[in-house]
Structures are given as C-alpha cells and as structure tokens.
Subunit: 400 residues, 2 copies
C-alpha cells in the first residue's frame, strides 16, 4: 500500500514553516511498511485542493489530509474531500455532542460556524478528537482509504496513534517489527556508509536508515516479518557484522546520547568529572550537564579564555603557548587538582582564523595526564561541536 | 503572480528529510511579492509527476521544479515536464560543453547517461550550472513560467540568484523593497503579538513576519513600493510605533544576536565579563563565546555544579543554600574578584524536579552586586535557555 499526504492551509506555505506532521506521519507509516510516494501542501483554495485530493485518491491506496477542519470559511478540507470523492456530508450528532462538551468544559458556547465541524463524509467513520473540536474522519472504499485529521500536532498525533494506526494494521498482512539502533561518534557519514553499505545494501528487510549530524551518526535497522524470531534473525544477520565493523565507535545501542552514556558510566563507578575549557567556552560543561541529575558526577569547571586566566585559575605556567599540548596538559591537571574530580577534560584551540580547527584536548586521570592534537574543519560552530564530541568520546573510552 | 514548487525524488519523502529548497525559494519569491500557493514532493514516478506538473501549470503562473535532473533513469523531471507541457526536447551543445568541461576539471569522463542532461525543453532557455552537471531550464509561454533547477542547495541557490530572480524581476512591475528588523528579548510571542498586532495588522504593505524562539522574537517588516521614499515612509508608519511600544526590550535592529550586541558594547567600552554558572553548566559562557573574537572581552568563568565547588572556587560561604539570592550574589562577586573582569554574571537554580524554573541570576559590577529571582516554566532545556537569555539581557541593559 502506498500513501500520499496533503497538508491544507496557506499558513503552511510561509518561508519558515516546516510541515512536521507529514514527517511524523511518514515515520509511522514506514514502520507499518507503507511507503509515502507524494506529499503536498495546498493553500486555502477549494478547487486546487479538490483537484489534489482527486489525483492522490486515484494514485495511492491511502490518502491522509491534515488541517483545514476548523469552523471558518477558510477551512475547506471537508468540502474539498466530499467533492473529490463525489459524496455528500451529513451532520453527526455524536460529533456535535463532543463539540458542545468541549465548549462547556471551557465555559464557552459554540458559534453557528462550529456546526460545520460536525459534517461527516457520507460513508466515513467519525473519529473523536480528545484535544480539540475538529473530529477526524476515516473513509474506506474498495480497499482504498482517505483520512481527515486536524492540523495541530497535539490533536493529530493522539488520533494517529489511537484511531489510524490500529485501523491500518487491521488492513495489512500480520507482521512483527523489530529494530536495532547504533549511535556512532566521530565517523563521517560517508566514511561510515562506505564501510557498512556493502552489508546493508543487500537487504531491503531490515530497512536501514542513516541519520547524520556533525561527528554523530545514527544507524537504524528495522525488520518486518511474520514472527519475532524471523525479525530478530534478520537483524542479527545485518546488525552483527555492522557492529563488528564499527566496533567501539558505537557509543550507544539504546538511543542514549553520548552525555547520557558518560553519565551512566560515571554514576556506576561512583566517579566524577571536571572540565577546563578555552575554545569551547562552556559548551563541554553545558553538554555534560544537559542530562538531568548530572550533579551526581559533574563537579564543575573553568572557562579560561585568556592566558592570564589559564595561569591564574588553573596554574598553567606563564609563557605556555595558549594553544599547545603543554597548555592542554596543564589545564586538565589544574582542573582535576582544583576540583578533586576523578577525571578532568581540557580543551584549547582555534575556532576561526588562519589556524582554525587546530585543537588540543587533554584528559587527566588519577595517575596520568594525556593530550591529543585534533585537526578539524568547518566553521566556528562545527569546530567547537566536534571538539566537544572528541573530548566526550575520549572520556567514554577511558571509562570503559 | 502565484507560484507552485515541486520537489522531485523519493529520497525527499523519508521521515527525516525537510525540503529546505522550497523554504528558501518561498522566501525569495515572497520578497518579490510572489505568493506560493502550493508545494509538493513527488517520488520517482513519471506519470504521477507529469500529472502534478500539469495541475500546477494550469493553476499558477510560476512553477518551479527542483531535483530529478541527474543522469540516471530515476531522474524523471525533464521527461515529465516535456510530457506535461506537450513539447519535445533537443540536445543543447552548450550544455554538453559545460558537462564535458566539468568532467575534465575533475579528470573524469562523462558516461553515456550524462547525455540525458543536455536535453532542453523545446522553447526553454538553458541555464548553466556553475556547481554541477545538471543545467537549469527557464520555459516561458503566454506569460507563464516553468523553471527546472537541480536539487542540491549549493547548485540551486546560486542559479536562483543569478538566473531566476533577475528574470522574474524583469517580468514584474518595477518595485523597491525596504525592510526593518527588530529583535526582542524576553517577551512571549503571544504577548508581543497582542501588543503590536493592532498596529501592523492594518497594513498588508509593509508585510510583517514574526519569528519566535523561546524568549527571543524577531519582527521583520518588508515594504514594497515603486520608490524607496514610499517604502521608507511605510516602514516608519508601522515600525516607529512598534519600536516605541516595545522600547528597550528591542536589543537589535540590524540582525545582531544578543551575544553580538553585548560583545560590541563591551568592546566599545574596553570592558570585560566573566561568568559563574551552576544551573546552566557552561551554556552562558558558550553563548558569549559563540562570537568570533570574544576573547577581547570574555575573561573566563567557573562552572560550580556542587556546593563544595561554589565554596572552593568562588568563596560562597559554607552553608549558603545552593539556590538562593545569597548564593547568586556571592557567586557573581567571587567570579568578578577572581577574574578581574568588569562585570560578572552568575546563575543558580533548578532545571527540573519539584522546584524546576526557580532560578537566581546575579550581576556584579565595580561598585555593586545584585541578584534577581526568576520563575521560569518548561523543560530542562527551556529553563536553561531562558536563564541564559535573562542573564545576557540584564548585562546588555547594564551596559547601555
């Protein structure tokens, strides 16, 4: 079964508006094995929308419309769907009761316009909307389905979960879905893909999705089978060799972020970490403390943006070059001594200018202090982001 | 003139892919006064795409297609456009020369497939692509325009600027565009809108756009007129009363970020700032140092995530409640003394748990130290983000 998604409303056609509903719906449908083959956003133009629905209905077994179900003249989805399907509409008393109840709950009275919202396509099921006045609709004819859902995500998503997905599952051949998830630090997307594509590209089941941010790549495997055993076997067939190839660059198999992984490792050992940041100016500390409860293992840190501060706050010897191995070593050691943390990470480098991307990261532990030189490329934000990832991943490996 | 945008390619229909090209194109077209009334993403299905192009061409004066211009069988845009417009295609020697040159430059030889890329719709202008092999096309018939552009943003954007916008401007009545930009800290979007909507909503020219992030709202005014004088007069008519209403909550009128504004103020005065962060764990320092050259005025700071660190690193008296006015005052003063900065900001509070959003911010200056209590709502990230904004805006006001 293929699907098309149509979002309705001129407000969806501004330069800053992303139709996140369609992304959410696509993810849910893909999980069921339904492919989205087209999606559109149509402004408030009844004729244009009718035409778009007609084309989608002709081409695809599932058409999902979002938005345009409000009470005003501009809310054209019901009318356009009725015209495209060539069916009438009938007021639905249960829909009207729900609208009345919702208004009463907020001490208000519906207007005459709200009566439009109880109109249901002849032959469609009315779907109650627990978070808004616009009911949804499920229209099923000759094995094809057209769905109307309200536009606000907090109304749409619960209805998708409660009403649409179960009905679709009932229509589809029985299947079980199993997933694996690898998060990988510090490999470029193309390098990683080159490494693992020879494995996963031979399989359409499990489906493999790769999501990349700078220095951080997520690999999702999704197997669909008739039984859980088959699905797990397929995941092992593809996932095990991928895991072997990437090795300990995989920092998480359950979706945890790098800072969550580090937090769990530190907490399990009853150990703590501190930071000394120049280049990143607080980004490293901020990332470690993005996790709730980080005070259990994050002692604190130093932002030493000038030579004077490196010397004064961390005891980096005067005359030490600000961006050097010696500075990174002294910063890490200084931070560890001054906070009493078990581990201290340090960072110094250039984010822009001639030497942009020339970075040192230091790590001090009970008996030892080391520094590493990094050559990073990209703009200021990217250099700082990659530096933080390098520092955190080094700490993770030390904790293993 | 109304426009429709069609992106081509199944890879655009995954759950994580946002069609950023269409957002970029929409912004550019809106600036010219062209409204986008529909946009679609169509997978690799020739018949479906042909039908979509036909519908768009019938409905709108401008149709822009992006992607699907590569050399493979899957690249169906050329064929579908020819079928929809009912025109033939002819190999274009200049397009082929450009393809050959590009391959030579990289020491490679084009394949037989690349010959597809020189096919130009009969009646269309070929548009050279300086950053890729796929040429663009401009097809103009009876006052209607169909445009083919390559999908990669780094190819599409330069062609949009060099080839498409100038041709569109030549078709449109002459006009001048003038803009104003207000950036506002620490007002909710709806509060702000309630305040200024009575002014701007009476005008369609200038067009007013409001973009909101937590605690940070941008107001754009865009006037389109025949002369610059008229445009400036309209901007003054709407912009001046808005500026008056919002007052010094406007931190920038040129697009500068809050940290850029603070950086310029500090540099102009030859003064410096330091930070002492608990709750935000480095986010405040990170934001200040997001600006290139921040070492001119950012001395450094302390991340004191535990009572012990607040005492040891900043001299906060033992027994001081970690989240309290006294702590914020002592942290700010401690940071100022230990760094020698002219200003020191401090932050302590709860990002989650029962008391989430209960926050103190401190500011120490030459003669004085103050603290403010904030009651913020939202999740961990939002509380931390709003805390940083409050601290930075307080510093900005102190610097004025």
């Amino acid at each position: 079964m293929n699907a098309e998604i149509i979002a309705v409303g001129s407000e969806m056609l501004t330069p800053d508006k992303v139709d996140t509903n369609s992304l959410y719906i696509t993810r849910e449908l893909n999980t069921l094995g339904i492919e989205v083959v087209a999606k559109c956003i149509i402004g408030d133009d009844r004729a244009r929308l009718t035409e778009a629905i007609r084309a989608a209905w002709k081409n695809s077994g599932l058409v999902i419309l979002t938005g345009g179900l409000g009470p005003t003249e501009d809310d054209i989805t019901r009318d356009a769907a009725a015209a495209a399907l060539d069916v009438g509409m009938t007021p639905n008393p249960a829909a009207w009761d729900a609208i009345l109840n919702r208004f009463q709950k907020f001490g208000r009275t519906p207007t005459e316009n709200n009566r439009r919202q109880m109109l249901i396509l002849d032959g469609a099921e009315m779907l109650l909307n627990p978070n808004g006045t616009a009911p949804g609709q499920w229209f099923h004819r000759d094995g094809r389905v057209l769905v109307l859902l309200p536009g606000p995500p907090r109304e749409l998503k619960p209805m998708m979960q409660a009403d649409i997905i179960p009905r679709l599952i009932a229509m589809l051949p029985p299947q079980v879905i199993r997933t694996r998830w690898y998060r990988v630090a510090l490999m470029g997307e193309s390098d990683l893909d080159q490494l693992i594509a020879p494995i996963y590209s031979k399989f359409t089941n499990p489906a493999t999705t790769i999501l990349a941010a700078p220095g951080d790549v997520d690999i999702h495997l999704r197997a669909r089978c008739e039984t859980a055993e088959e699905a797990e076997a397929l995941l092992a067939e593809v996932g095990d060799p991928i895991r072997e190839l990437i090795g300990d660059k995989i920092y998480s198999e359950n979706g945890d972020s790098l800072e969550q992984v580090i937090g769990k490792l530190l907490r399990a050992k009853g150990q703590s970490v501190a930071v000394a940041e120049s280049l990143t100016g607080g980004m490293l500390g901020q990332q470690i403390t993005a996790v709730s409860g980080a005070s259990d293992y994050f002692k604190g840190g130093f932002l030493t943006y000038t030579d004077e501060m490196k010397h004064q706050l961390l005891g980096v010897p005067e005359g030490t070059e600000a961006v050097s191995e010696a500075a990174a070593l002294a910063m890490a050691q200084g931070a560890r001594e001054r906070t009493g943390a078990d581990y201290a990470l340090s960072v110094t480098g250039f984010a822009d200018g001639d030497q942009a991307g020339h970075v040192y990261v230091g790590l001090a532990t009970a008996g030892d202090v080391h520094a590493r030189k990094l050559k990073l490329s990209g703009d200021r934000l990217r250099v700082r982001t990659l530096t933080v990832l390098n520092a955190l991943d080094w700490l993770r490996r030390s904790l293993l």
